[in-house]
Amino acid sequence: MIHVRELTKSYDDLRRGKFMALDGVSFDAFPGQVYALLGPNGAGKTTILRILSTVLRPSHGSATVNGFDVVTQASRVRHQIGFMSANTGVYDRMTAWEMVEYFGRLYGIDAEALRWRMDDLFTRLKMNDIRDLLGAKMSTGMKQKVSIARALVHDPPVLIFDEATVGLDVLVARALLRTVAELRDQGKCIVFSTHIMREAEKLCDRIAILHRGHILAEGTLDQLEDEYRERDLEELFFRLISEHDERYGIVEAR
């Protein structure tokens, strides 16, 4: 479904010189699976997801989504994915219904089918009370729901969530995670990035631990436990990171 091979992204920063946001990252994600990208800020999670959603181009390496290459077949890829992140905005002067409808029509869904689908979606996500609420008047939780509805309106086989629970209160976050689980059960391929361990533990089938553009460890929770003899994901996480920093002599000036 999603195949990433040696994905590399570098920037020329004046101060840092050639800065590698991603350095040879490879992984695979399959339908009916939630693939978690776990890592601290600056690990490269957003970069990977932006490349997968065709907004950025890799410096080297390749990625395919449902068989389509993200660089040469970008427009096909966009039909296959639904993307949601903490800072995907909603339009201030559009109502929730109008916004989701707008994107639905951009995806080429015809009016009748779109209305039916949106009714269904709004009911399932419990958004019927905010159908006619303008974006400027929505709370963060409402905005997130609109973004999810927008990402789902065209029923894409691949869903990408970039730190989607940031800024949400506990109840809304929980509801979101439940939705993700439901989508997984429907057979979608989901890539989920987060830096919250609990989410990764509860939700995800496979986990990749990212740090400074590298994947430090990858596999199911059980596989990771066997390999590193560590049951607690959080402990494993910190151990891998400090080992990496030591090995490469990186002194953190946080």
């Binding site: 020329d12 920063d13 004046l14 101060r15 010189g17 050639k18 959603s53 065709t54 907004v55 950025l56 181009r57 290459d69 660089v71 040469t72 077949q73 970008a74 427009s75 096909r76 966009r78 039909h79 994915i81 993307f83 992140s85 800072n87 995907t88 905005g89 909603v90 339009y91 201030d92 002067r93 559009m94 707008y102 994107f103 029509r105 951009l106 995806y107 080429g108 973004s147 927008r150």
Partner: protein
């Protein structure tokens, strides 16, 4: 491209902007209120001017004595007042005491300063007596009385009549008004006094002014009215179109980035081109509505004010109705052009603040183009119609004035140029939407030392696009400043030295320095490798075949934008002074060929090839090449020839064919002028070749032209089939384009 997506985006953006109360107010309500308000103020001012009564102090008018009388019943006599001035509009106060001459100025100044009076008219003490004396000295009607009067010889004593004075204050508008009125009155009185003097002397009243020069204005009244509006309307149209486009553009592009909705839009299936077109059409709508509303509001107010003020009506009438029709027709290209420009700039900005800063440079560039047609002597010619914006304004002006016959042939070039500019701006906007740097750029602190060190430490084998642009700009700037420092050459030797030094300093040094400092591989950058012999031969042949065509172009350019005769003669004279052919060719062909090719097709072209589009690189490099020529007419030909040379360079992968072509081209350009009569007699075919030589230059007979066209076509096709190396960006772009065009896509 999917137009239904464009329509979706357009509808959304329009709906969005219309829901913003504040922008609705500024765009719709403000013009409707503003112009009547301004009109009312203008009206008040005009009313004041018409109806304000001037307070004037008159000093020393007790003893005027002379006829005709200036005053009547404590006011100016009616016959001195013009049509414009009513007797009641001048309030006269006669000074009671007789003020001494020296004190008058002081009194007057105080009176006007303290605003007691708006002007003071002072008749000196001897004024009345002097006038009377002048009249008495005049010879009377019959000779007898004359002899009796003077006892023989008439004694003409010239009498000095002291001047009456009007004291006024130029800094005060009321005083200016009073002064203007008084002058009219005094001048009319003075003329009538003069005429009565003539009568008294037995001469006819019109002896001093035997005839009047009659002024006959041939302009038809409608044409005259239209002329004024023809100057104003296009100017206003462009201003409103520009301002009406700008703020929506900034909001739609930079504003969307700030609010975080841009990323969402980019992830949707809408192509970048569709997004740009949707936004462009939105901006055009706003630009057009702004123009129409402002025009209508101003028009209605203007008509009302004019009809109310009689004095204006005499100077110019209301605008002709047809002018409104033409303005509406012109609205589409004008708003399209400015909307595209604003969109391109706004797409570059990261935030609305940055976007608004870009407004000033845009206005600074657009203003001269809009104002230029208003200068006297700038007319609708083919050359002028090719200048963007200016051509459009001139065409519009001709239409408003009713000169349809004159305007018609210029419609195609103006439309073509405007369309070209729009399309270029749209393409640039699409690129900004594709550029990661622009979309996700974060602010950095500028550190010059670090930056230079980075440029040198992290240099690639070939220069970057930015470095290519910088090199071009540096070359142009150095040339510009050097042109001030150098003096005009007077002999060929002077010219030779000047030319070679200029080439080395202006072109060679920057290119060489930048190659060494900013690239790792001068060989790859400057394409220093040997070409295939066939490519070299083909290049030389191409230059030969191209020559007649280039010559034709040169003549066409000179006709479009004529060079002054002085320049042509001077240049010709210099070249004729060359001692030997070899020397001439060295200066004019060899040195420029080597130096300019290394710079433009070497360094600059190599840099531009990182853009991913071969032709764009060739054209851009050629633009700099053309601009670096001092004479404008040469620049255009150089631009076109530069494109051909650039193509050859890309296809052959070496700088040597380019140098050869340039050398051949320049040589062929000067050789014909060296063909003398003696040579023509020895080689008769030369005579046939330069059949139509004139002072202005030579043309080749049509068989030669036909041969050259065929030759160029064949050789270019040959080059097309050559295997050409691609830059990595070009390879990538080709892969993307190939995918997009394949039947599976979309």
């Amino acid at each position: 491209m999917n137009w239904s997506n464009v329509r979706l985006i357009l509808e959304r953006e329009l709906r969005d902007q219309l829901r913003d109360r504040r922008s609705l107010f500024v765009i719709f309500v403000l013009p409707i209120l503003l112009y009547p308000f301004l009109g009312m103020s203008l009206f008040q001012v005009a009313q004041f001017v018409q109806q304000h009564a001037s307070r004037v102090l008159v000093v020393g008018a007790d003893d005027l004595r002379v006829t005709p009388a200036l005053f009547e019943n404590e006011k100016f006599a009616a016959r001195w007042l013009g049509d414009a001035v009513d007797a009641n509009l001048i309030e006269l106060h006669f000074a009671g005491e007789i003020v001494a001459a020296e004190k008058v100025e002081e009194t007057a100044r105080r009176a006007v300063d303290e605003e007691e009076y708006e002007a003071v008219v002072f008749f000196p003490a001897d004024f009345g007596r002097g006038l009377e004396q002048v009249r008495r000295n005049l010879p009377p009607s019959d000779r007898a009385a004359a002899a009796e009067h003077t006892g023989g010889a008439p004694a003409r004593r010239t009498v000095e009549v002291p001047s009456p004075r009007i004291y006024w204050d130029d800094a005060s508008e009321k005083s200016q008004l009073a002064n203007a009125r008084l002058r009219v009155i005094m001048e009319r009185w003075r003329e009538e006094v003069g005429r009565e003097n003539l009568e008294t002397a037995g001469l006819s009243r019109s002896a001093a002014k035997p005839f009047d020069v009659a002024l006959e204005d041939v302009a038809d009244e409608r044409h005259r009215d239209a002329a004024l509006w023809a100057k104003i309307f296009p100017f206003l149209l462009l201003i409103w179109a520009l301002t009406g486009a700008f703020y929506p553009a900034v909001d739609l592009c930079a504003g969307e980035k700030e609010r975080g909705t841009l990323e969402t839009l980019l992830i949707s299936p809408a192509e970048r081109t569709e997004i740009v077109w949707g936004k462009l059409l939105t901006i055009m709508t706003f630009s057009s509505v702004t123009v129409v509303l402002n025009l209508v509001s101003m028009g209605v107010t203007g008509l009302f004010v004019i009809s109310q003020l009689e004095q204006f009506e005499r100077q110019f009438g209301p605008p002709p109705l047809s002018s409104f029709v033409w303005l509406l027709v012109a609205l589409v290209p004008v708003s399209a052009l400015f909307s595209a420009l604003c969109l391109a700039l706004a797409a570059l900005a990261r935030s609305t603040k940055e976007g608004q800063y870009y407004l000033m440079p845009l206005v600074l560039v657009a203003m001269p183009l809009v104002v230029l047609p208003m200068a006297p002597g700038v007319e609708l010619t083919l050359g002028n119609s090719l200048i963007p914006v200016t051509g459009l304004v001139l065409l519009l002006r001709a239409a408003v004035e009713g000169d349809y016959a004159q305007a018609l042939p210029f419609i195609p070039p103006v439309v073509a140029v405007t369309l070209a500019c729009c399309l270029l701006a749209i393409r640039w906007a699409v690129e900004q939407f594709n550029s990661e740097g622009v979309l996700f750029r974060e602010s950095e602190r500028l550190d010059l030392a670090l930056w230079v060190r980075h440029l040198m430490r992290d240099r690639g084998e070939t220069p970057s696009v930015a470095e290519a642009v910088a090199c071009g700009v540096v070359i142009l700037l150095v040339r510009f400043f050097m042109s001030f420092a150098l003096r005009q050459p007077e002999s060929f030797r002077d010219f030779a030295v000047l030319a070679i030094v200029t080439q080395l300093v202006v072109v060679f040094t920057p290119a060489l320095l930048m190659t060494v400092m900013f690239t790792r591989s001068p060989a790859k950058t400057l394409l220093l490798r040997l070409p295939r012999p066939s490519a070299l031969l083909a290049a030389v042949l191409l230059a030969v075949c191209l020559h007649p065509l280039a010559n034709l172009m040169q003549r066409a350019m000179t006709r479009l934008y004529p060079i002054s005769d002085d320049v042509t003669r001077q240049l010709g004279g210099l070249l004729e002074g060359a001692e030997s052919l070899a020397m001439l060719l060295f200066v004019v062909a060899v040195v420029p060929a080597i130096v300019e090719e290394l710079a433009f097709r070497g360094f600059i072209l190599s840099g531009f090839r990182h853009m991913g589009h071969k032709w764009r690189a060739i054209v851009l490099a050629s633009i700099f090449f053309g601009m670096s020529h001092a004479v404008f007419q040469q620049s255009l030909v150089a631009f076109v020839v530069g494109i051909v040379i650039g193509y050859v360079t890309v296809q052959s992968g070496s700088i040597v064919p380019a140098m050869a072509m340039h050398m051949v081209h320049n040589s062929l350009a000067v050789l014909p002028s060296r063909v003398t009569r003696a040579m023509e007699e020895r080689y008769p075919f030369l005579e046939r070749l330069f059949a139509d030589s004139t002072e202005a230059g030579y043309t080749y007979p049509w068989p030669v032209m036909a041969l050259s066209v065929i030759g160029v076509a064949v050789l270019l096709t040959w080059f097309h089939w050559q295997p050409a190396a691609k830059s990595p960006e070009e390879t990538l772009q080709e892969a993307i384009d190939h995918e997009a065009a394949s039947p599976l896509a979309g």
